[in-house]
């Protein structure tokens, strides 16, 4: 995470300086056409629909979107962790050019935790209440390495120190209920980085924590990323965090990717009407930025009953009622060389509301 100074969120403000043009870093994780279905009352419901995106080594991809837009499910699918009766119907998850999804379960298990790790929103329920935090870290180590008890315990203590838990030698024998929320999230991070994975997916890692602790946890993640060069996927509702930490942004709506691009591009020139609506509802210029994703007009979509065309059409101030928007599905296409893509037929048209102003 670059942790660059906060750029202005207003679309016309100049972007923060772009990182020096060194050779692009290799892609660490790539999703191609990932599609996940759950059985529903009237046939299968597609909750993740053809999501393709990439994260570079050492880079940070922020994933934003309304609640229920499929942010968590996308990456649970990528790790092969979709709970039954859901299943990944289509697509690939590539790490170093090999598709990991279509491998024997045991191979996939070995990759989880060791090469690609995930931490979750709620540190209060994410730790196992009947094991000490030391036992839980050791469990992860021993899932992947032949390591003796004493050595594993020593490693656990090291890891606790690394995530800045004070007095780790004593804390290692604590149970989760003896720790604060922030400390529990640190323990989870310790578990997730125990085997130095190349990719870490952080699913709203700070939503359940208070603001000062949030900043500490994110700074910890940024430090760890700087040390290890791991790729980070930051799922969040908080556009302020996106601006502060992300290199790239992916915007999801109704299980589909509607816009991707570099953080600067998406923040300064949002193309998809949904993304524009998100930024429009943010206070202009120097307003507070660490704000939850703003609610936008209209009903959130029900993925079991999407309109046949663009999923955003019923709420879209540009395309509502347009023939093409109602009948055909826009696909995310690269708009220019920067890789900024959006899935909209009319991204060049202004919003009707804005035009009226």
């Amino acid at each position: 995470m670059p942790n660059h100074p906060m750029p202005n969120l207003h679309p016309v403000a100049p972007a923060a300086p772009i990182a020096p043009a060194t050779a692009p870093r290799p892609v660490a994780l790539e999703l191609r056409d990932l599609t996940t279905v759950f059985p529903g009352d009237d046939g299968p419901v597609t909750v993740i629909d053809g999501v393709s995106l990439a994260v570079r080594a050492g880079g940070t991809l922020a994933v934003v979107g309304e609640s229920g837009s499929g942010k968590s499910m996308t990456f649970l699918s990528a790790l092969g962790l979709v709970a039954t009766p859901g299943r990944v119907r289509r697509g690939e998850v590539r790490i170093d050019g090999t598709d990991i999804l279509h491998q024997p379960p045991e191979r996939l298990r070995r990759l989880r935790g060791a090469v690609i790790s995930m931490i979750f929103q709620d540190p209060l329920t994410a730790l196992n209440p009947v094991f000490t935090i030391g036992e839980q870290i050791v469990e992860v180590l021993r899932a992947h390495q032949r390591i003796g008890r004493a050595a594993a315990r020593a490693r656990a203590i090291d890891l606790l120190a690394r995530v800045q838990i004070p007095d780790p030698v004593r804390r290692v024998d604590d149970y989760p209920h003896q720790l604060s929320g922030g400390q529990r999230q640190r323990v989870l991070i310790a578990m997730a980085i125990a085997l130095s994975p190349r990719i870490l997916i952080a699913d709203e890692p700070t939503t359940a924590l208070d603001v000062t602790v949030q900043a500490q946890i994110l700074d910890l993640l940024a430090d760890l990323q700087a040390e290890t060069g791991m790729a980070l996927v930051l799922i969040t509702h908080d556009l302020g965090l996106v601006a502060k930490y992300a290199d790239d942004v992916a915007v999801m709506y109704a299980g589909r990717l509607v816009e991707t691009g570099s953080m600067e591009e998406v923040f300064t020139r949002p193309r998809h009407p949904y993304t524009r609506a998100l930024f429009r509802s943010i206070p202009r210029l120097d307003g507070p930025v660490d704000e939850e994703l703003p609610a936008i007009e209209g009903q959130p979509p029900n993925v079991a009953r999407l309109p046949p065309g663009c999923a955003f059409e019923p709420r879209c101030t540009v395309g509502r009622g347009r023939a093409d928007c109602c009948t055909r599905r826009p696909l995310p296409l690269a708009g220019d060389r920067s890789g900024h893509r959006s899935a909209c037929f009319h991204e060049d048209l202004p919003d009707r509301k804005e035009a009226a102003r």
Binding site: L81, T125, L127, V130, E139, A143, H144, H177, L188
Partner: protein, 312 residues
């Protein structure tokens, strides 16, 4: 320590409740003990004398007060049939019933818990469904039916096990040989129940966040289920075992009757038909206290399993 004191006072209150309930329950058995003991041709006078002797001529609340007062000193009256202290009679036959109940529970736990875990692990598979259907049958069949059927099959037809009684003489082996069939029948009927409840306890835990986290970190599924999830499910599973202990003691009584084994069950059955109030009272009380004691011990065990409960 605090915890222990609280447990003990709870225990005392429960026992008092049980004493009260059994007293009134026993009074609800139809028939007059004096009449029963003296036969149909007894004179009215003789009956009156006997009733006075037994204290049955007093109002019920006086009888109750006296009963409680005596109970506090450990005196539960004497069996009107044998004349020996009722508690002594019951405690004398307690080991027979306890051995059967514990053996049955051990069989039930050994079958039910692993099966419950396995079916939770394979939820929705055909093996899961098959086992759940069998378990449902196991729960619905009355235990004495199972007992009779197994006597017919294994004793009469196959002659593998003795059908009746518990060897009074003989070594440990003959004793065990007599125990296999009744304990097996008891265990299997209770196992069905334990299987179902263990499965649902495990399913609940397996759906929790911390399990998803363990999977996301690559912990092998066997470890996830048999260590990480199982320890979480242990408190509800222990609670299930506590409940089934009461049940297996109850079933043990039925099974004693089916297999004509000595024990509290057979004794209570005889006492009821003889209107031997004191003996029935003492018998039911001892059974109830046994159930309560076992559950209190399990309560203490929860603290060992779940750290959140022990640091209260």
């Amino acid at each position: 320590m605090d915890r222990l004191l609280r447990q003990l006072s709870q225990l005392a209150i429960t026992v008092f409740g049980i004493v009260t309930v059994t007293f009134f329950l026993v009074r609800m058995i139809p028939g007059d003990p004096a009449q029963y003991m003296l036969g149909d041709y007894a004179t009215e006078e003789a009956l009156a004398t006997l009733r006075a002797q037994l204290g049955l001529d007093q109002p019920v609340y006086v009888q109750y007060g006296l009963y409680v007062l005596r109970a506090v000193t450990g005196d539960f009256g004497s069996s009107v049939v044998t004349g020996r202290p009722a508690l002594e009679e019951i405690l004398f036959s307690l080991p027979d019933s306890a051995i059967l109940a514990f053996a049955g529970l051990a069989v039930a736990v050994a079958i039910g818990i692993p099966l419950g875990i396995l079916t939770a692990e394979r939820q929705g598979s055909w093996s899961d469904m098959l086992i759940m259907i069998v378990a449902l049958f196991g729960i619905s069949f009355p235990v004495f039916w199972l007992g009779l059927a197994s006597v017919l099959l294994f004793s009469q037809e196959l002659k593998w096990f003795p059908a009746l009684g518990a060897s009074s003489g003989g070594g440990v082996l003959t004793h065990l040989h007599h125990l296999v069939l009744p304990a097996g029948v008891l265990g299997i009927s209770v196992a069905a129940y334990i299987t179902r409840l263990t499965r649902s306890a495990m399913l609940e835990v397996l759906g929790q966040d911390c399990i998803r986290v363990a999977r996301a970190m690559g912990v092998p599924e066997r470890r996830v289920v048999w260590r990480l999830a199982l320890k979480n499910a242990l408190v509800p599973i222990l609670a299930i075992v506590g409940v089934t202990f009461a049940w297996s003691l109850g079933s043990a009584i039925l099974i004693e009757v089916v297999f004509s084994r000595p024990g509290i069950g057979s004794m209570i059955l005889k006492a009821v038909s003889a209107r031997d109030y004191q003996l029935v009272q003492a018998g039911v009380l001892v059974l109830a206290v046994a159930v309560v004691l076992v559950n209190s011990l399990l309560d203490l065990a929860y603290g060992l399993v779940d750290p959140r409960l022990s640091t209260r």
